[in-house]
């Protein structure tokens, strides 16, 4: 299963655009336009994942001359690297830091809003349906019928200990 979000695919494709050009030049030449950019998934891919800390390949593959010189310096003792150089080397290897990966978004507001919105629409549909679609209720729902049902339940002493009949005062003929 792919864990790539749309944003990460975007950055991935931006980096891999040059790579895909060289490997699939024949394919590109045969099409006048590409509908979607293809990612070669048979090769190691970069990913930002909290659960897997070491991606299959470095983030930045096409290095400028400056980057290459920095990589050369990295081969020497690291105590000679400045703080900015260390950070630059990190950013060459990785796209996002762990705090950046973990940062929350405001997406939940959209989700909740959409949920309530569609719930409201459904409620309106159900309301319309109950007025215009349902047939008339059977006679057992009439208030008189329901009163006779209740009287019969009390007469047969239904649930006399903690339930219905326990709440009825039989001497006075009213609810307790």
């Amino acid at each position: 299963m792919l864990h790539l979000t749309a944003g990460r695919v975007g950055s991935l494709l931006a980096r891999r655009a040059t790579a895909s050009f060289t490997t699939s030049s024949a394919r590109m030449a045969s099409h006048a336009h590409e509908v979607t950019e293809t990612v070669d998934m048979s090769k190691p891919m970069y990913y930002d994942r909290v659960s897997l800390p070491l991606p299959d390949r470095p983030f930045k593959l096409d290095l400028t001359a400056e980057d290459k010189s920095l990589k050369q310096k990295e081969k020497g003792p690291w105590s000679q690297l400045t703080k900015e150089e260390k950070i630059a080397l990190y950013r060459l290897m990785f796209c996002q830091t762990y705090p950046e990966m973990r940062q929350s978004s405001a997406e939940w507001k959209t989700v909740l809003g959409g949920f309530f919105f569609f719930l409201g629409i459904s409620g309106l549909l159900v309301l319309w349906q109950s007025i215009y679609v349902y047939p008339k209720a059977p006679k057992t729902f009439d208030p008189e019928w329901k009163a006779k049902e209740l009287k019969r339940m009390l007469d047969m002493r239904m649930n006399p200990i903690q339930g219905l009949s326990s709440k009825w005062d039989y001497e006075k003929g009213q609810w307790k």
Binding site: K83, R152, D155, M156, R157, P160, I161, Q162, S166, Y170
Partner: protein, 76 residues
């Protein structure tokens, strides 16, 4: 630039040390609450109901109300 070494092992044990006794305590507490708010009143209610229960008188009352099919109210 030197950070403290993060916790490398023993996370589950540390979690369980607090949460396992807590889980037992909450479960027993919930059971006790249920016992004294639900089951004891229910037992009392049943005892009270049956202390002075005259089933024959109750049956005759129900018979007069006309709910039975095997015996009709007296006088029919």
């Amino acid at each position: 630039m030197s950070l403290p070494k993060p916790m490398m092992r023993g996370m589950l044990a540390k979690h369980m040390r607090i949460h396992l006794p807590l889980a037992f305590a909450v479960s027993f507490g919930a059971a006790l609450v249920l016992k004294y708010t639900v089951t004891e009143p229910r037992k009392k209610a049943y005892a009270e109901f049956y202390k002075n229960y005259d089933s024959v008188a109750e049956f005759n009352r129900m018979r007069e109300a006309g709910v039975f099919e095997s015996v009709r109210p007296t006088g029919k």
